[in-house]
């Protein structure tokens, strides 16, 4: 158990505890006020109720006072109870393809990690390319990014963390003082963050956004299309990240001989490549090929779940081993977010919200793109990236038709920046994991992260303006 004792005066604790019920009461009053107020012109009664549910979920998601998944379940309950959508339709939305794609991706990532092949790959790459302080740093940075193309960035950070920590200790780097120690852990965290936006697999947020897009408009984004669209962003951010890091923290060690000894010892401990590692790696490769070639026809979830079945048929993994890798909370959260998004759309609430709020500022497609991408990257610094999508996407999709924009473009505008938190541990677990090493602190993370935050937003908008037209994408339909 991980215990902490609150040693503040007891009256302070009591006061803070009392804030929680007071907060809930305020939420109930806001909800009641939104339901009971006269229905504004142009909004249906169902739309008004959908907005009330959205407001409550927005407050709960942002405050994180209850787990994200529980807020989503609350939304699923309220939507049929308040008659926004019929109950059959509400629960059917939970069967969305995106939810099952995420489930399949979790199981695949779990199988890959459990087999040990990802660990072996990481160790060998670091050993192969990590001959000097500079190349070892680049290896950690690029490896974190590369692995996050195929697995959840959180899982990659958790998997590489003990290896990087052992390297730092092996090199005798002092926590909080050594520049190279800071570089290694920033490289781990930022590599995961940047790599995590490269494909559908880096995090479940892109599948969620695509799921909501499909549910609302019927449009979708292909696995390969997405990666091609964001590829320049990933490359530029990796280069910028490396430059910013080495400028902030110049390399302060001469050699990495002892780190190589650590890597060699770990590689030796793995033994020879097992049949299970071979087979799991092969399944993963075929799955990626399947997503690229068959994803549009059969659906990404179908390909993912087929691979899951193959893994179990050939006994490459056991259910017991997989369970710890499946984040059921995220799956519930996404299901609820899709239900809420559909409720806002079908009740006309999303369109009304856009008309009466952001619609006035976002007068042109590029302005809408810039505004939503900025809101997304800003909010993700303080909120879970899934919550950012759940909050912003329904509103943005409402705006798309008003401005004759391609809704898929606005989906990119929110889904991609939602994964780009470089500043705070609460925004993404990759930063939190790196910060737990004590080699870096929140102040340093915020300082360097702020520059990356600005860089990422500017580069993303430039990529959208210059690269996307070259590959046949544009703001407008």
């Amino acid at each position: 158990m991980s215990i902490e004792i609150d040693t503040r005066p007891i009256w302070v604790i009591l006061l803070l505890k009392a804030l929680r019920p007071a907060f809930y009461l305020a939420v109930v009053l806001i909800f009641w006020g939104l339901i009971a107020m006269p229905t504004p012109e142009g909004l249906s009664i169902e739309g008004q109720r959908a907005i009330a549910i959205f407001a409550v979920c927005l407050i709960l998601w942002v405050s994180n006072i209850v787990p994200l998944a529980i807020t989503s379940i609350f939304a699923i309950v309220l939507v049929p109870v308040l008659g926004v959508l019929p109950k059959k339709e509400t629960y059917a939305l939970f069967g969305n393809e995106a939810v099952f794609f995420i489930l399949g991706a979790f199981i695949l990532a779990g199988a890959v990690m459990h087999s040990g092949i990802s660990n072996r790959l990481a160790l060998n790459i670091m050993k192969r390319f990590g001959g000097s302080p500079r190349t070892l740093l680049i290896s950690v940075f690029l490896l974190s990014a590369f692995l996050s193309f195929f697995m959840s960035e959180h899982a990659v950070a958790a998997m590489l963390f003990p290896i990087v920590l052992e390297i730092a200790k092996g090199l005798g780097l002092k926590p909080g003082k050594s520049n190279y120690g800071k570089l290694l852990f920033f490289a781990l965290a930022w590599g995961c963050v940047i790599g995590g936006v490269a494909t559908f697999l880096g995090g479940a947020r892109v599948p969620l956004a695509v799921g909501m897009l499909k549910e609302t408009t019927g449009d979708t984004i292909g696995f390969l299309d997405y990666s091609v669209a964001v590829f320049p962003l990933v490359v530029i951010l990796l280069a910028a990240g490396y430059l910013i890091l080495t400028r902030f923290f110049p390399i302060d060690i001469e050699g990495v001989g002892s780190a190589r000894a650590v890597l060699e010892r770990r590689i030796k401990g793995l033994g020879k490549l097992s049949v299970i590692e071979y087979a799991t790696g092969t399944v993963l490769v075929f799955t990626i090929i399947g997503w690229i070639t068959l994803g549009e026809g059969f659906g990404l979830a179908t390909v993912a779940l087929t691979s899951v079945v193959v893994l179990f048929v050939f006994k490459l993994v056991k259910w017991k081993d997989i369970e710890e890798y499946v984040n059921w909370g995220i799956i519930l959260m996404y299901g609820g977010a899709i239900v809420l998004g559909a409720a806002l759309d079908k009740s006309g609430a999303a369109a009304w919200l856009v008309k009466s709020s952001v619609g006035n500022w976002a007068g042109s497609p590029w302005m809408a793109f810039a505004l939503f991408s900025f809101l997304s990257i800003l909010l993700t610094a303080a909120m879970s990236n899934a919550a950012v999508i759940a909050v912003l996407l329904p509103v943005s999709l409402g705006l798309a038709s008003k401005l004759s924009m391609d809704p898929a473009v606005l989906t990119y505008a929110i889904a991609v920046p939602a994964g780009l938190d470089f500043m705070f541990p609460m925004g993404t677990p990759a930063i939190a994991i790196a910060a737990s090493s004590n080699y870096i602190n929140v102040k340093e993370s915020a300082k360097g992260g702020f520059i990356m935050f600005i860089t990422a937003w500017v580069v993303f908008n430039l990529v959208a303006a210059w690269w996307w037209p070259l590959i046949g994408m544009g703001y407008s339909r």
Partner: protein, 398 residues
């Protein structure tokens, strides 16, 4: 010179009795004391004392317990005072379902019942045991019998049913683990807290890291004791070689200071044995401990034939100022004195009030603390405090 008498102040009498012991001529009391560390007597003003009666030094004691009518009195030859014998709990005569006598598992010392689930202390195994110790609370070097959680639970149930005392006091000897013995005691503490509404005290060795102290509190311990025993550094190293080399006095201070921040005011305590170091040194220890929010508890060293460590001469006139100093120091540092009370083996701060200020020991407030309602309130407040203070990070929202 007229011989000084302590019979008229129960607190000073308690100190003098613990220092000199008593002789017994009544066969009933002799039988009563047989096999025990001393005889438990209730002095006036409900002052409980455990008087040594078997040790060599008690043969020259001026005190004698005599029968008078249906009651008893203690005389010093010149005058006397009426006392009563503290009945041994009836559960002492019963056994657990596995056949272990309850008296082997639980030992009542006033408001506390001491339970030592394992007698093992690795100081003995490494020949670095404390020089004064020949098995405090039955702790030795051998593996011995380890009582199961179920046996301990049966014993605790018997204690609480009989209302023999309200606080269960777990003690453990040294083991070379990071946790100071908490890992071993954990299932016992959890089981007692789960099954009964009682307060739990833990006497252990300081763990290597402070998070174990946090965990001790989170598990349900309401009070913690890391017994320093001796404040003077050189004497500490000589008399307690295991504690000095394997833990270190510095770690004791750190652990106690941290515990005082985590546990409620007045529930973190540490023994300083009177008689093993000069009184001035004990006073310095008292000031240091109370300065960091710890209750110093001053047991009096009981020498035996092969443990003649005592600083001589030691008599009540010499050590009484130490106890007065203790009371003043505790008051000065605003330490709650209501937790450490009604213990037969040591003089408690509440009892010292009458020595310093001449006031009666027991007030209405004291009566409340001893009442059933008072005990329930103490347990409820302790539980509420824990609920408010302990944050389980595993239980976070996401």
């Amino acid at each position: 010179m007229k011989k000084k008498t302590y019979l008229h102040n129960p607190a000073t009498l308690k100190i003098d009795l613990m220092l000199r012991g008593t002789r017994i001529d009544d066969p009933v009391v002799k039988a009563w004391a047989c096999g025990s560390a001393g005889v438990d007597i209730m002095l006036p003003e409900k002052t409980l004392v455990n008087i040594p009666c078997r040790e060599e030094f008690t043969r020259n004691s001026p005190y004698l317990i005599k029968k008078k009518g249906s009651g008893y009195l203690i005389t010093d030859g010149a005058s006397d005072v009426e006392v009563s014998l503290v009945e041994k709990p009836s559960f002492y005569n019963r056994r657990t379902t596995t056949g272990v006598p309850f008296s082997n598992i639980a030992s009542v010392h006033g408001s506390y019942t001491v339970i030592t689930p394992s007698p093992r202390c690795d100081f003995f195994n490494r020949s670095v045991e404390c020089k004064y110790c020949a098995g405090n609370f039955d702790v030795t070097g051998r593996e011995g019998v380890v009582y199961s959680v179920e046996e301990v639970l049966e014993a605790v149930e018997a204690v609480l049913k009989e209302k023999a005392s309200g606080i269960i006091y777990f003690s453990i000897g040294f083991s070379d683990n990071d946790d100071g013995g908490l890992g071993f005691l954990k299932p016992y503490i959890l089981a007692v807290k789960k099954s009964f509404n009682c307060l739990v005290a833990v006497e252990a060795l300081p763990p290597k890291k402070n998070h174990w102290i946090d965990e001790t509190y989170a598990l349900g311990a309401d009070s913690i004791l890391y017994n320093l025993e001796i404040f003077d550094r050189e004497l500490f190293e000589i008399i307690c070689p295991g504690r000095a080399t394997l833990i270190g006095q510095k770690r004791y201070f750190e652990a106690l200071e941290h515990a005082a921040k985590v546990f409620p005011n007045g529930t973190v305590a540490s023994h300083l044995i009177v008689g093993l170091e000069p009184p001035g040194s004990t006073c310095m220890g008292v000031d240091y401990l109370s300065g960091i929010g710890v209750v110093p508890i001053l047991p009096i060293y009981r020498p035996s034939a092969n443990r003649a460590l005592r600083i001589e001469p030691l008599d009540t006139e010499i050590i009484l100022p130490v106890y007065k100093h203790l009371y003043k120091s505790i008051k000065k540092n605003k330490i709650n004195v209501n937790w450490v009370r009604d213990i037969s083996m040591v003089t408690t701060p509440v009892e010292l009030k009458s020595i310093v200020s001449g006031e009666k020991q027991k007030s209405i407030v004291d009566g409340f603390y001893n009442s059933r309602l008072g005990k329930k309130t103490a347990w409820g407040l302790a539980t509420l405090r824990r609920k408010l203070r302990v944050i389980d990070r595993d239980d976070d929202s996401e």
